[in-house]
Each structure stands twice: as structure tokens, then as C-alpha cells.
């Protein structure tokens, strides 16, 4: 039993500065936790020697008084981030031996700020999935129920499972349509998808480039603020990166929400939401009201079209992005007599079923004769969805919604692709509009599974999103620890 696992990112950072323990001790405690929870399958790769070296360097910096913002804090990295000389597979067979020769901007930012890397975390293949079941090396398990194997959500399922199981102090994730927020909700942790453009996409394995965004998965809202401070920033290597300074989010933890207006969209209270989630959604509304916010009903009329738009645009962009896996420049190759056959068998064998399905859909909607009817139409409706948000943010400061329609489900139980897609019904709209969203745990359902609530802010208002989420976090007092967490 290690007391060190009780510290969250922020409190561990303070304890390290006060020399209550060393980064090496903390890092070793996490390696014990990784071993103890290995049956969850969260880690694809651990890099112990590398971690120990980083921890020792951090301890030297503490000694010399040159500690950086994340000095000595051991974190996990979703396998979508390229890490120099460390295998990066995007959970795909086609990249099973890929070892990047460069580091993604976001992870470099974390190491430059002193963070210690524990290893690479599983995810859905190329981040395409909502249950972590499309991972080539098998699904990850949600640590909340010991007797039933529940999904950690996806695509950042390994990241969420590891943070909930306390085998990582925090983890990076990527979110295209909900891949940070939905697994955070399923695993009872905090997940923040920043505004599109806040974090550089350079060195992140590309899925849907107009939607992909990196963000933190952490135990608390303060931890998310601390970690996003380091992850975000302008990057010349990503042309969509926002050239906008982000204020220090740690200054916004206790700003409160007096006088702020919170919108409750009527389109997010539909059939199919579990009763327990409805109960906690109503509680959350009341908590914000009691803390001084004004609650207003709002309408985002095109909400029901968000998923159809997403399942045209994301596969279209994916079919183009994944064309690079050709068995020539990197990745696995299956030999064949001609070049075209080599492409076909390499890609046919290297990609999993869901990835192939999305490439097929994407190719179809971009193909001659169908482009206008599907892809162009989806881009037009995407504008209407964005305008819905723009209009609502004229009236209110933040939008409160459930993160997911249900809590976690049992692994292997959802076979139909469409029913899987419906998991992201509350997270996809903000992704299409490029707006930041955070999911935080507010309670448990009857089975003892975590319930997540989502707050959405206007573009680049991460500071206000943090202030509001902190108020909700304090009211909810979610102090539960997953049954399967490391002890």
C-alpha cells in the first residue's frame, strides 16, 4: 500500500516542492501500481528506465531550486501521441513496430515542463471507437466494478482507466467527437477537451484533422488546469494552432460563478437517458443555482443532426488521413506481386474492422457523384450547428449537459456500430463547433458506476470553464475511488 498514490497532480506537485518525497519515490510507487493493475490492460508500453532517468533529473532540479511547473510528476501518454524512439502504434496492427523519430509538440511541452513519462496508454484503433474495444491488442477494462468487465469508454480508454485505477497521476488524451469526455465520464475522472486550436496537433496521429484536439484526463479540475497550462500553446508547425496566449488557468480555480448565466439546452433532455443521470443532471443544475449562477433554458435546434454530420465529416477526413498507411514509408507491409495489391493486402490486414468501415464510408461520401449530397451537405449543417452555439453564447456564459446518455456498459455487449455511435450524442456537437468542454464526475448510479456532467464554454474561454467546473466539483463532493484502483 502506497500513501503516495493518494496525492493528485496538484498536491503531489506541492509535496514534491516541500521535499515530502522525491520524484523517484513517487515514480516507483506508480510502477508498483501499474503492476498491481496490469489486468486492466491500460498500458501498451512502459518505459521504466526512461521514467527513472526523468525522475532523477527532476529530483536534481528540486535540489537546485530549478523546478518547472510539472516537475517530477509521472503521467501516461495516449498512444496517439508520437514519442521519440518510443513505440507509437495508435493501437493499430498497421503501426505495431512504428518508432517515431520525433516528439509531438504536446508531449514535448509536458517534458519541457518537467513531467515524467510512465508509458503509452491503449486507445481505440486510430481513436475510432467509444469503448476501447477496437484496440488491436484488446480492450481495456474499467476499474470501477470488480466482478463485471465494464468498458472504460473510448477512445482514450487506456488513459481514463489508468487515471481512475491510480496507475497514472494524470494522462493525455485526444478528443475528436468525445474521446476525452466520454471515457472520463465512464471512469469517474475529469476530462477536458480544449478549444480547437489550443493544443498543437503536430505529432499526433491524425484521425479527423478539423476536429482532433488534445487534452488532459485527470483526477480533479485543478489538475486539468495545471496540465492544460503546459499542453497548450501556439505552434508554428500546426497551421490551425491558435496564436493566442492562454491565461494561467491556476488563477481561475476560485473565481466562482456569481452572476454567470448557465444554459440548459432542451434538446439534451431526450428519451434514452438513464434515470440516474437525469437525477444528477438536475442536482447539478441546482448546485450551480445555489452557488449564484442564473439558470436559463436555451435551444440548440440542430443538435439531432450533430451525429449524422460527424459520421460524414470524421470518416471523410479519416479516409484521407489514413491513405498514408501504404506499407511503403512506415508501418507493416504485406508483400504482393504488384504495388496496388501490396497496398490492398497491407491495408486490408493492418486495419481493424471499425477503421475499415470508416475508411469505406469516408471514401464513399467523397466519391464522385456523392460529394455534394453527403460531404458538402454535412459541412453546411455543421455551420448551422456552430451558429446554434454562437447564438446561445450571446445569451449565456456556459452550457450544462450530461456527458453521456448512459453510464459505462459491459464489454462485448454493443455489437452494432450505430448504437455505439450514439454514445457520443452529447459530446459531438461541441466538437463540431470547436468549443471547449469538460466532463467531471458528480455521482454514482445504482450499480456504482460514475456519472459525468459536461460543461461547454465559448471558444477560448477555458479560464471560465475551469472556474465553473470547480464550483460544480466542490458541490458534488465526488470522493469515490474505483474498486479496482491500486491500493
Amino acid at each position: 500500500m502506497s500513501d503516495l498514490l493518494k496525492f493528485d497532480l496538484l498536491s503531489a506537485s506541492i509535496a514534491l516542492k516541500n521535499k515530502e518525497f522525491s520524484s523517484l519515490e513517487l515514480t516507483n510507487a506508480y510502477f508498483e501500481a501499474i503492476e498491481q493493475t496490469s489486468a486492466l490492460g491500460a498500458y501498451l508500453e512502459i518505459v521504466k528506465d526512461h521514467s527513472i532517468n526523468m525522475a532523477k533529473a527532476s529530483d536534481k532540479n528540486f535540489k537546485n531550486g530549478t523546478a518547472r511547473p510539472l516537475e517530477g510528476l509521472p503521467i501516461g501518454v495516449k498512444d496517439m501521441f508520437c514519442t521519440k524512439d518510443i513505440k507509437t502504434t495508435a493501437s493499430s496492427k498497421i503501426l505495431e513496430n512504428f518508432c517515431p523519430t520525433y516528439e509531438s509538440t504536446v508531449t514535448q511541452n509536458l517534458w519541457d515542463d518537467g513531467a515524467v513519462m510512465l508509458g503509452k496508454l491503449s486507445c481505440d484503433e486510430f481513436a475510432m471507437g467509444s469503448s476501447n474495444e477496437t484496440a488491436a491488442r484488446g480492450n481495456v477494462i474499467n476499474p470501477w466494478l470488480k466482478n463485471i468487465k465494464m468498458s472504460p469508454g473510448g477512445s482514450s480508454g487506456g488513459s481514463a482507466s489508468a487515471v481512475a485505477a491510480r496507475s497514472a497521476l494524470a494522462a493525455t488524451g485526444t478528443d475528436t467527437g468525445g474521446s476525452i469526455r466520454q471515457p472520463a465520464a465512464f471512469c469517474g475522472i475529469t476530462g477536458l477537451k480544449p478549444t480547437y486550436g489550443r493544443c498543437s496537433r503536430w505529432g499526433i496521429v491524425a484521425f479527423s484533422s478539423s476536429l482532433d484536439q488534445a487534452g488532459p484526463l485527470t483526477r480533479t479540475v485543478s489538475d486539468a488546469a495545471l496540465m492544460l497550462n503546459s499542453m497548450a500553446g501556439h505552434d508554428k508547425k500546426d497551421s490551425t494552432s491558435a496564436n493566442l496566449e492562454m491565461p494561467d488557468l491556476m488563477n481561475y480555480l476560485d473565481k466562482g460563478i456569481k452572476g454567470k448565466k448557465i444554459g440548459i439546452p432542451k434538446e439534451y433532455t431526450q428519451d434514452g437517458i438513464s434515470d440516474d443521470i437525469v437525477t444528477f443532471y438536475e442536482k447539478s443544475i441546482n448546485w450551480l443555482k445555489e452557488s449564484g449562477a442564473e439558470i436559463l433554458p436555451v435551444s440548440l435546434p440542430h443538435t439531432k443532426y450533430a451525429l449524422p454530420v460527424y459520421y460524414i465529416i470524421a470518416p471523410a477526413e479519416a479516409s484521407s488521413n489514413l491513405a498514408r498507411y501504404d506499407g511503403v514509408r512506415y508501418g507493416k507491409r504485406n508483400e504482393a506481386a504488384s504495388l496496388d495489391e501490396m497496398y490492398e493486402v497491407t491495408r486490408g490486414n493492418g486495419f481493424g474492422e471499425e477503421v475499415k468501415r470508416r475508411i469505406m464510408i469516408g471514401t464513399y461520401v467523397l466519391s464522385s457523384g456523392y460529394y455534394d449530397a453527403y460531404y458538402l451537405k454535412a459541412q453546411k449543417v455543421r455551420r448551422l450547428i456552430k451558429e446554434d452555439f454562437d447564438n446561445v453564447f450571446e445569451e449565456v456564459d456556459y452550457i450544462l449537459t450530461p456527458s453521456t446518455p448512459t453510464t459505462s456498459f459491459e464489454l462485448g455487449k454493443k455489437q452494432d456500430p450505430l448504437s455505439m455511435y450514439l454514445n457520443d450524442i452529447f459530446t459531438v456537437p461541441a466538437s463540431l463547433a470547436g468549443m471547449p468542454g469538460i466532463s467531471l464526475p458528480v455521482g454514482l448510479d445504482k450499480l456504482g458506476l460514475p456519472i459525468g456532467i459536461q460543461l461547454i464554454a465559448n471558444s477560448f474561454d477555458e479560464p471560465g470553464l475551469i472556474s465553473t467546473a470547480r464550483v460544480l466539483e466542490r458541490s458534488a463532493e465526488f470522493n469515490f475511488i474505483a474498486d479496482g484502483a491500486a491500493k
Partner: protein, 100 residues
């Protein structure tokens, strides 16, 4: 082209698989056809939305793509570029023979 004509059948799956350079085993073609039809049927609800005066939205950044001067910023990394290639020779990627 209206979407009524765009119901996917196995010949269409073959064509899309070819365009995607994906080898799809015969045994899984029927399932894939059904999945694609379900998904395309689901997204077809966008037809309800009147978009006659709406411009397509391709990017939410709100900024113009930045330009930089056309200068080489790195180079001399041939080894790194070829490092992950399944097959390379003399500084080149090797592919199956394409010219008879």
C-alpha cells in the same frame, strides 16, 4: 445525385474498397454492405435540413491559414526518414516492381 439511388450493394462495396485500396475478404462483404447501408441511412436524415443559403463550414478556427517564407527548415535526415520503412535501399524506399 439523389440518395435514393445510392443504396450500397456488393458491387459498390467492391468499388469503394478498390478506391480505398482495402482488401475485403468475400466472407465479410455482406456484413460490411449492411453496416454501410445502416450508417448511410442514419446520416440521410440531414436531407430534412434546408441548407439552400448556407455556406459549408470546413474550419472552425476563424483565422486565415498563416503563410511562411518558402525556406528549407530542416534536412539531411535521410536516415530518419527511412528508419521506419519496411524496405529501403541506397537511400530509397523500395516498392514492388511497377514497370514491366
Amino acid at each position: 445525385m439523389s440518395k435514393k439511388e445510392s443504396i450500397v450493394d456488393i458491387p459498390t462495396v467492391n468499388k469503394i474498397a478498390r478506391l480505398s485500396r482495402l482488401n475485403i475478404p468475400e466472407a465479410s462483404k455482406q456484413n460490411l454492405t449492411n453496416d454501410l447501408n445502416n450508417i448511410l441511412g442514419f446520416v440521410a436524415q440531414l436531407d430534412e435540413v434546408n441548407t439552400s443559403d448556407v455556406k459549408p463550414l470546413a474550419s472552425v478556427t476563424g483565422h486565415k491559414l498563416p503563410l511562411r517564407s518558402d525556406k528549407v527548415t530542416d534536412g539531411n535526415i535521410e536516415d530518419l526518414v527511412l528508419k521506419n520503412a519496411p524496405e529501403s535501399s541506397g537511400g530509397f524506399f523500395v516498392v514492388p516492381k511497377v514497370i514491366e
